[in-house]
Symmetry: C2
Subunit: 220 residues, 2 copies
């Protein structure tokens, strides 16, 4: 509650003071610095606007030239890594031919990415949504594409005959998402719990989660 990121020479980087002339690529510099600080202190409100400004070599109000809010800045930082997140998950599933194994590979990649980038994950999936607009439609959210990829992957498993024809792809994808998110977010928030091996846990969840939906009694 009291630890914040400041202090002189916080960042070894230079303070080139006053970028001139060309357009607003200061925005990118701000995002870079904010991301560095965010991963350094793994806490979104331990990194301050003033700290970011100092790291960039600029005064705090300049940041508001490019971001309406601290929340918008942090969100922009985290959404930046969303594409990377989607790539990691999709890449893990793409190389696997068995559609059930592909789903499982996706799940592992999901959890791994979340645990390796806990603060970004926290901002994306565990923070209080700003609820800026009362009606933000999900299709405009950064994760809607990634989610659709999961629905598609479930659909492929159905089409291939691996999953029963009567399973609802949307419901199943939502359930899988909830399960892997549950593992990820709990392990982030409660590291003191005596967690079993992550991979074993994810395998257990995916296995039992999907085995109830398989066409034959493979009960793998």
């Amino acid at each position: 509650m009291t630890a914040t990121a400041r202090g002189p020479a916080n960042v070894p980087g230079p303070r080139p003071r006053a970028r001139r002339g060309e357009g607003s690529k200061l925005r990118e510099l701000i995002l870079d610095a904010a991301e560095r600080l965010l991963v350094r202190y793994g806490d979104a409100d331990a990194v301050s606007i003033r700290g970011i400004a100092e790291a960039v070599g600029v005064t705090p109000p300049s940041i508001y030239l490019h971001f309406t809010d601290k929340e918008a800045l942090i969100r922009a930082v985290s959404e930046r890594s969303f594409a990377e997140f989607d790539d990691a998950v999709e890449g893990a599933g793409a190389g696997v031919s068995d559609p059930l194994e592909a789903l499982r590979a996706r799940a592992h990649a999901y959890v791994r990415f979340g645990l390796e980038n806990p603060e970004q994950y926290r901002v994306l999936f565990m923070s209080k949504t700003g609820t800026h607009g009362p009606e933000v439609d999900f299709a405009a959210m950064p994760g809607s594409d990634a989610f659709q990829h999961v629905v598609d992957a479930v659909g492929r498993a159905i089409d291939s005959g691996a999953l029963r024809g009567d399973v609802d792809p949307f419901l199943t994808a939502t359930g899988l998402w909830a399960c892997v998110h549950g593992v990820t977010s709990l392990m982030i928030s409660l590291p003191e719990f005596p967690w079993p091996d992550v991979d074993a846990l994810v395998d257990h969840i995916c296995g039992s989660q999907l085995s109830g939906l398989v066409a034959k009694e493979k009960t793998r």
Copy 2:
């Protein structure tokens, strides 16, 4: 980031100014006021020490006579409702004779409680653990009893023959917890997602989660 809980006459309640004589039941008053504010503004850091103090009718430093920290206060508030939480989950499972149905009833009660008390849930299961001590053992945590209850419930399902004898109760309980937590926390954090019906989702997850572990091929 800017909305905090203050303003005059925030609470219609009186400000009885200066409790005297008897012991520290101011502590209870603080907890009451903090809980009220916490549920009013559903955000732990939108309720301020100063706001709580004003609601109680006392000055901010008095709070530190009873709580070392704001975090300790918030945690105390939320842990207060942990017994209630455990009771709700256990009560839901107690009346059901079929051990599999009992597990499912627990899951529904878990999610329902979380969605009805989102900010307490957030503090308990979604906040960055203070990590005060490097070695906090889980048995001392407030939730360890509640978790043990789930392990026991899984154990009963095994003993009754409803679940296969070779399933690991701890791993299965952890998996179930992760799944219901995943639903709960995602629905809290991303209300703009087009969620399916909660009960249907929980049923789907529990059903497929457990159907892979049943003894016979009930595939319910």
